[in-house]
């Protein structure tokens, strides 16, 4: 693991960190010794080819899967330590699934409201409305999931994950089932939404375009390990080895000083 200086400098105010984490099965370790961290409000992206174990890593962070070893730390809490793990439903981590997984029996608004059970009914509805408006679907409250287009379902899934104001949002290949053209537009919008709400997010993808369009920090996964974790600029301009350079080189780097 090689960190450039400014990443190390910010380590003191780590909000979310993964330390020496290994995931996979006893018989076959998918990813070993993964270390990275994110500060509050930043967006990270794990980039790697299909089947490299990045989705398993995301599921381990969400709590759907046991990690083999290592620790996860989020906002002053250990999520898993040897002998003790926090159940997925108590981690306060939101997730956007690859297939969106909207509840088919609930309308768009009710889907967003699902996680707001701690609030009174009017408050929950008002808040769900707010988030549905944030993703630009204020006019689709009553629509059922099957009546929405793929992009609209994606936005509902996003609003549903954001509404309970989780400490971290995970996105598993969030744009992979959308049209290429639409993908870029939506990824820009989602980035702006995260920045506006100071949301900390971690996504995984195999698409370099998506990674560079969305993320502040990018990790490149290859050969069963995290080969580089750095800000987007450094991953692109100073890849640590040839395989990172090969993988990232196919991507396009967006200059976006004006976005922050």
């Amino acid at each position: 693991m090689i960190h450039s200086e400014h990443v190390l400098a910010s380590k003191a105010k780590n909000y979310f960190s993964v330390e020496q984490l290994s995931v996979g099965y006893e018989s076959r370790i998918l990813l070993a010794d993964v270390n990275f961290h994110l500060s509050k409000g930043s967006i990270g992206c794990l980039l790697g080819p299909s089947g490299c174990g990045k989705s398993t890593l995301l599921r381990a962070i969400a709590g759907f899967e046991q990690s083999l070893q290592g620790r996860i730390y989020l906002d002053d809490n250990w999520l898993n330590r040897p002998g003790r793990t926090v159940a997925a439903e108590h981690r306060n981590i939101g997730m956007v699934f690859q297939d969106y997984s909207l509840f088919p029996h609930l309308s768009a608004l009710e889907n967003v409201r699902f996680g707001l059970y701690g609030l009174s009914r009017p408050n929950a509805i008002a808040k769900a409305r707010h988030w549905l408006g944030q993703v630009g679907l204020a006019n689709k409250e009553k629509a059922m999931p099957h009546e929405l287009s793929g992009g609209e379902q994606q936005r509902v899934a996003l609003a549903r994950a954001l509404a309970p104001e989780p400490e971290l949002v995970l996105l598993d290949e969030p744009f992979s089932s959308l049209d290429l053209e639409f993908r870029e537009k939506l990824s820009r919008e989602v980035r702006e939404l995260f920045k506006a709400s100071n949301t900390t997010a971690l996504m995984v993808t195999h698409d370099q375009h998506e990674a560079f369009a969305m993320a502040d920090y990018i990790g490149v996964i290859n050969n069963n390990r995290l080969e580089q974790w750095d800000d987007a600029y450094h991953v692109y301009h100073q890849p640590v080895n040839q395989s990172v350079a090969d993988f990232v080189g196919q991507g396009v780097f967006f200059e976006r000083g004006n976005c922050r």
Binding site: A62, G63, F64, A87, A88, E89, H90, R91, N92, I93, G94, M95, F97, Q98, D99, S101, L102, F103, P104, H105, L106, F114, G115, Y117, R160, A161, P164
Partner: protein, 515 residues
């Protein structure tokens, strides 16, 4: 199992009588009846499906869905309504005589042909349903392919669509065969001896359980053959299951003559299978309504409702448990257990009734030897529930399974990541998603138990009566006028599942319009 093991025991006198006189005749009758009904119901079902899917004629949409309605009429009801219609001195004879027309040409209602006709009119909807499915999905597509290769619509139907639909048609006909072999009520009305009535007689007239078991064994063998064939046809049609119907359907434009013929055929089947029998029932029931709506009638209704409600809860809870187990654990053992549990639908009620009675008899005997009162289990609701569960578990399981397929594993994870897990997830996600399936399953089981005759008749506690049993008792004494009211009650409730079916196959005009 008890049926198979019966081949060791013996019970000479009655057995010899049955094997010499009853068995050959009833076996032949069963086979002849099954063959005849399969042919006629198959022909009616396929023709109607072809007309309503692939041809254009006036009232096509109307017929497309009303032709499902005969499903609501149980065979034994259709049977005695037909006897009333066609019997010498019955409604049609009198009507023709009234207009001084010759009535000699009318169907002889106690002939083999009449029984085949009645059963075919009750059972053709199975073929109709499956053939419609086939023509609507792969049929339309294949017609387009045929047209692109230079065939006309008519040619491509006969050269491509019909041969491709063969597994569906075969599946429908095999269901008809299963139902015909299992039928007890219809043939009983006509006093036509088949294997099912032989089982009943051996038990209730000759009191020979071992003879009944042996006949049941033969019937079981026939049913197993049909079931294996049916499973086979189901596998053959798996490749095209789940495709959507083509959007713009290409239909054959019929000429004036052909349109008239199509209209005539559809309406005569609809008249024969639905309007006339129902009219006959009303004609009998209405004048005596005040006399028949007595306390006794309501006691049959409450008996029926009690029994069907109880069975509904028992069977549907078992099916829900089975569905969740099958979802949690996917393995060969669980899959085969589910398949075995849902195979009971193929068992004729008569076979099932005595198959369950024998082991229960042993248990009772054992209990008695332990000093408990005798007949504790025999003829109790518990035995009925066991028999119903075996017979109707598949009915309840299928809609649940279809609904549970919608709950993908990541839906569970989505709920967990929003902080909803365990019982809260069951309440807020699983049950609402299963809800429609549970309601459908409850309706289907309720109505099936209400219509069910042989199991209820043979295992009910002494003095316990339902509408179906009442209809059977009255018709076996030839008191058709009085049987009409309970029969009507059964038919009316029976419309519910037919409505659900029509809605799910989306042939009803109202569903089309709302899309």
């Amino acid at each position: 199992m008890s049926i198979v093991s019966s081949y060791g025991t013996d019970d000479q006198g009655a057995l010899a009588h049955i094997i010499r006189y009853v068995l050959p005749n009833s076996l032949l009758n069963s086979l002849a009846l099954t063959a005849g009904v399969c042919l006629l119901a198959g022909a009616i079902g396929v023709t109607l499906a072809w007309l309503t899917v692939s041809c254009e004629f006036p009232l096509r949409r109307f017929f497309a869905w009303v032709l499902f309605l005969p499903l609501a009429v149980p065979g034994y009801v259709m049977a005695f309504a037909f006897v009333g219609l066609f019997e010498y001195g019955g409604s049609l004879h009198s009507m023709l005589r009234h207009y001084r027309a010759d009535s000699g040409w009318l169907l002889n209602v106690y002939s083999y042909g009449a029984i085949v006709l009645v059963l075919s009119l009750v059972l053709y909807p199975y073929v109709y349903l499956l053939a419609r499915n086939a023509f609507q999905t792969l049929g339309q597509r294949s017609i387009e392919v045929g047209q692109s290769l230079g065939l006309s619509v008519r040619q491509s139907f006969f050269k491509v669509a019909l041969p491709m639909a063969r597994p569906w048609i075969a599946g429908g006909i095999l269901l008809v065969a299963m139902e015909t072999l299992a039928d007890f009520g219809t043939v009983a009305v006509f006093n036509y001896d088949t294997l099912t009535t032989a089982i009943y007689q051996a038990w209730f007239s000759l009191f020979s359980l071992s003879a009944a078991l042996k006949i049941a064994g033969i019937l079981l063998l026939l049913v197993v053959v049909v079931t294996v064939l049916e499973r086979h046809s189901r596998r053959q049609r798996q490749y095209a299951e789940g495709r959507n119907a083509a959007r713009n359907t290409k239909r054959l434009q019929l000429g004036f003559g052909a349109q008239t013929a199509a209209l005539l055929f559809c309406s005569s089947i609809f008249m024969l299978a639905f309007v006339l029998p129902l009219g006959q029932l009303l004609y009998w029931a209405l004048p005596n309504l005040s006399q028949e709506l007595t306390v006794r009638f309501w006691s049959y209704v409450s008996g029926t409702v009690l029994l069907a409600t109880l069975a509904m809860f028992v069977v549907v809870s078992m099916a829900v448990a089975l569905a969740f187990i099958a979802r949690q654990k996917k393995g060969l053992v669980v899959t085969s257990a589910v398949r075995l549990a849902t195979l009971g639908y193929a068992l004729p009620g008569t076979v099932l009734a005595i198959g369950i009675f024998v082991p229960i008899g042993y248990v009772d005997h054992w209990l008695q030897s332990k000093g408990l009162s005798s007949g504790l289990l025999q003829g109790s609701l518990l035995v009925m529930m066991m028999a119903y569960s075996v017979r109707f578990l598949a009915v309840a399981y299928t809609p649940l399974e279809n609904n549970l397929l919608r709950v993908t594993p990541s839906i569970d994870l989505a709920s967990q990541s929003l902080g909803v897990a365990g019982m809260a997830m069951l309440r807020r996600v699983h049950l609402p998603l299963l809800g429609p399936g549970i309601v459908t399953a409850m309706v289907l089981v309720f109505v099936d138990v209400m219509k069910e005759l042989p199991i209820t008749l043979m295992t009910r506690p002494f003095g316990f009566n339902t509408l179906a049993v009442r209809v059977f008792e009255l018709t076996s004494e030839g008191m058709w006028e009085r049987a009409a009211l309970p029969a009507l009650a059964i038919v009316v409730v029976g419309f519910l599942p037919v409505y659900l079916l029509i809605r799910s196959t989306e042939v009803s005009p109202s569903v089309r319009a709302s899309k």
